[in-house]
């Protein structure tokens, strides 16, 4: 290679180097951004709104309710308020009367209230149901499979599911009467 040739090669070489450098930097930049973004978002593991609600089937243990089992897919066409609770949990206890007071009215309107219980002993659940005279179905998730399917963290957690079985709202923590009613309206099927 002589000097002249070298000179004539210089321009494309320079351009190639720029392209090469740009590509390498771009790849590295994408990797860094990916790392930072996934680091910021990796805490949110729960099911998000808009997702299809996973189906489940559980034994129903409320003697005041006629169902023996509850299967979500059987409630097709109805709105479902799916509440996860335990007898030991204070905020769960607080919202139970609200749910009970709204239940008859919204059952008529095509909304089912389903309160999945997570206690270890049925005994205390029975006592609890009798104490509050609950009438809505209380499925019993003995090995926490449904809780795991819905990725429930703290109790109570409530999912509002529309007639198309799409999750409209996820609420972690206790609810007030007004709020429950507001959400129930959202998932009520159109008449």
């Amino acid at each position: 290679m002589n000097v002249k040739q070298a000179k004539s090669n210089k321009k494309p070489k320079k351009r190639n180097r720029l392209i090469f450098r740009t590509i390498v930097l771009a790849v590295l930049l994408v990797a860094v951004i990916y790392a930072l973004v996934s680091n910021l978002t990796n805490d949110q593991t729960s099911i998000e709104t808009g997702a299809q609600a996973p189906d489940f089937r559980l034994e129903q243990i409320n003697e005041h309710n006629e169902r023996e089992t509850v299967q979500l897919s059987d409630l097709e066409g109805k709105g479902v308020m799916l509440n996860f609770w335990g007898t030991w949990c204070d905020p769960c206890e607080d919202e139970m009367p609200y749910m009970e007071s709204l239940y008859p009215e919204y059952k008529e309107k095509g909304v089912e209230i389903v309160a999945v219980n997570l206690d270890t002993t049925k005994f205390v659940v029975d006592k609890f149901i009798n104490e509050y005279d609950l009438t809505f179905p209380v499925p019993y998730d003995s090995n926490k499979e449904v809780m795991s399917a819905y990725q429930v963290g703290p109790l109570p957690t409530t999912f509002f599911i529309n007639p198309e079985r799409e999750i409209v709202e996820v609420v972690e923590g206790g609810l007030t009467l007004d709020k429950i009613e507001g959400y129930l309206r959202q998932i009520q099927p159109e008449q």
């Binding site: 210089k10 450098r21 990916y34 489940f56 559980l58 005994f123 499979e145 795991s148």
Partner: protein, 544 residues
């Protein structure tokens, strides 16, 4: 700047410090490696053109050149080093002890460490290693690694490939090891060559000029180990992708069966038995230590059965289970199945399995039992009938009793502090009596009860804590670490040694260079000049 044609005829790329072929210093570039101020030539990267000093026009080139600097790289390492150290001043959030005042970091740090703890928390140092800036720092080191390696490997490779046995005298004289002998015979030269070969040098010859070289591959060590590091960083990146990595925790109580979280309801685990062994305090070997430090766990393990759900895929539906594997899970002995690994992580022995109560007359000082019954705390019955005709009805059950604003209630879901309200129906249709019984509690509702209940016996049970892991990134980490080790060993345990022999009239110049271990090179040279009149090289860099 242009390409530089050396007097030996070789055309060097711009930025070259020492001619790739003959090593003659390129005059206008001597400042780059500081050769203009020193007697000896700076031989790192063999004086090749690492990066253009003038090629700095576009923003891309500016960024590139920034990361291409080793100085920047070292600064990044030092910053990462300091940051890492800071993170150990106080425990990280995940290491806040379980028995701390509060595991809430906003309370814990200030409570434990005062104002310094508060500052530590507010600066986000309690979560330092997953903070965005720490990750950015590591990422920048990664970028620096890639760019530095590219910028140095290519020119160094070319320079070593293009080097010629015949070197410029200026190059030789300015090597650290150098000697000049006035008279060297051909016999002596062939002795030198054969000794060089005996020392496993590769000998190249060009018109009587000789280059003897060994261990050139060690020069690639740094680049190999950097590749390993880059693979490790990529693996860390992959780990953030959900399907590559899963980390869950499950508590499973003795005798219970539960779904394994993270498996989408596909796998279940049953805890058949949990075993806790402690060291025998009478064991002669350890007696002293146990006396001083207290009991020490010897082993804890879960005898577990893993089942697979084979029925329809509906959560909660009565599962149709098929046994997959039965094994013991211990520390240092995890259980693998499918893509999952279960680790024995911890245990708790704060729950009761069952309690046995006895009935006795209130005014009997001996508390002689009139009859007893056992309550399974996971499944209490509504009523217990005793042999002697007593009936005891369970009116209330608090698995984890506490008094909250005067109201009895259960603190948790688990029978950690069980308490009952019993209604005792004595035989012969006497009036029923109410009794409140718990651990260390026995309250008589009216104060007029004829019969009293007492805890006669109880059994506790273990809850085993297991970690559930899926990690598809491990092979990448292993490969990365292996390549890194190969690279450092290649670069550190071998050296690139070169010896040049340069005939000058009757005599000969000799120069030597190595990238490390000069002592070894000198010994090599001492060996090869044995039985010749060739002068031993001078070390031109001796510090005094």
């Amino acid at each position: 700047m242009k390409k530089i044609k050396c007097e030996c005829g070789h055309v060097n790329p711009e930025g070259t410090v020492l001619c790739e072929a003959c090593g003659k210093p390129v005059e206008e570039n001597q400042h780059i490696d500081g050769n203009d101020k020193q007697k000896l030539l700076n031989m790192r990267y063999d004086g090749s053109a690492r990066r253009s000093q003038t090629y700095n026009k576009s923003i891309v080139d500016k960024i590139w050149n920034f990361f291409s600097s080793v100085k920047v790289g070292v600064w990044l390492i030092v910053l990462a080093l300091i940051a890492s150290g800071i993170g150990t001043i106080f425990p990280q959030e995940q290491y806040i002890p379980a028995n701390a005042v509060s595991r809430d970091p906003s309370i814990y740090y200030e409570d434990q460490y005062g104002i310094l703890g508060l500052i530590y928390y507010q600066l986000g140092f309690h979560n330092l290693y997953s903070s965005w800036w720490y990750m950015l720092l590591i990422a920048l080191i990664g970028i620096s690694l890639v760019i530095c390696s590219i910028d140095r490997f290519v020119p160094l490779y070319k320079a070593l490939k293009k080097q010629k046995p015949k070197r410029h005298t200026q190059f030789l004289k300015r090597q650290r090891l150098f000697s000049e002998t006035d008279h060297v015979t051909d016999d002596e030269k062939s002795t030198l060559i054969s000794s060089l070969k005996g020392k496993r040098y590769k000998v190249y010859e060009e018109n009587g000029h000789i280059l003897a070289e060994k261990g050139r591959f060690s020069r690639w060590g740094p680049y190999v180990n950097h590749i390993g590091l880059i693979i490790i960083l990529v693996a860390a990146l992959l780990r953030m992708t959900p399907f590559m990595y899963l980390d869950e925790y499950v508590w499973v109580r003795e005798g219970e069966q539960t779904v394994i979280p993270g498996t989408d309801g596909e796998y279940f685990i049953e805890n058949k038995e949990f075993i806790l062994d402690t060291y025998d305090e009478n064991d002669e070997r350890f007696r002293e230590a146990i006396e001083q430090e207290g009991m020490v766990d010897k082993n804890y393990q879960t005898n577990a059965v893993i089942y697979k759900e084979t029925g329809e895929d509906i959560a909660g539906a009565e599962p149709e289970l098929e046994k997959v594997v039965e094994d013991e899970i211990r520390m240092n002995h995890p259980l693998n199945f499918d893509k999952y690994t279960l680790y024995q992580a911890g245990y708790q022995q704060n729950e009761f399995q069952n309690m046995t109560f006895k009935v006795h007359e209130t005014d009997d000082p001996e508390e002689e039992s009139l009859g007893s019954f056992t309550v399974d705390l996971t499944d209490p019955k509504d009523e217990y009938r005793l042999d002697n005709g007593f009936r005891v009805a369970v009116s209330q059950y608090y698995p984890d009793y506490e008094l909250n604003e005067g109201e009895p209630r259960s603190k948790t879901n688990y029978p950690r502090n069980p308490a009952f309200v019993f209604t005792v129906h004595p035989p012969d249709n006497e009036e029923p009596e109410m009794s409140f019984v718990g651990i260390g509690r026995n309250v008589d509702a009216t104060g007029e009860n004829d019969y009293k209940l007492g805890v006669q016996d109880f059994e506790t049970r273990f809850a085993s804590g297991l970690t559930v892991r899926v990690d598809h990134t491990l092979p990448f980490f292993i490969i990365g670490a292996a390549i890194f080790m190969i690279g450092v060993i290649q670069g550190m345990y071998w050296q690139h040694r070169r010896i040049w022999l340069h005939p000058e009239g009757e005599g000969m110049m000799m120069a030597g260079h190595t990238n490390k271990n000069w002592f070894g090179l000198k010994k090599d040279i001492e060996h090869i000049i044995e039985n010749t009149n060739v002068k031993m090289v001078d070390d031109q860099q001796e510090i005094e």
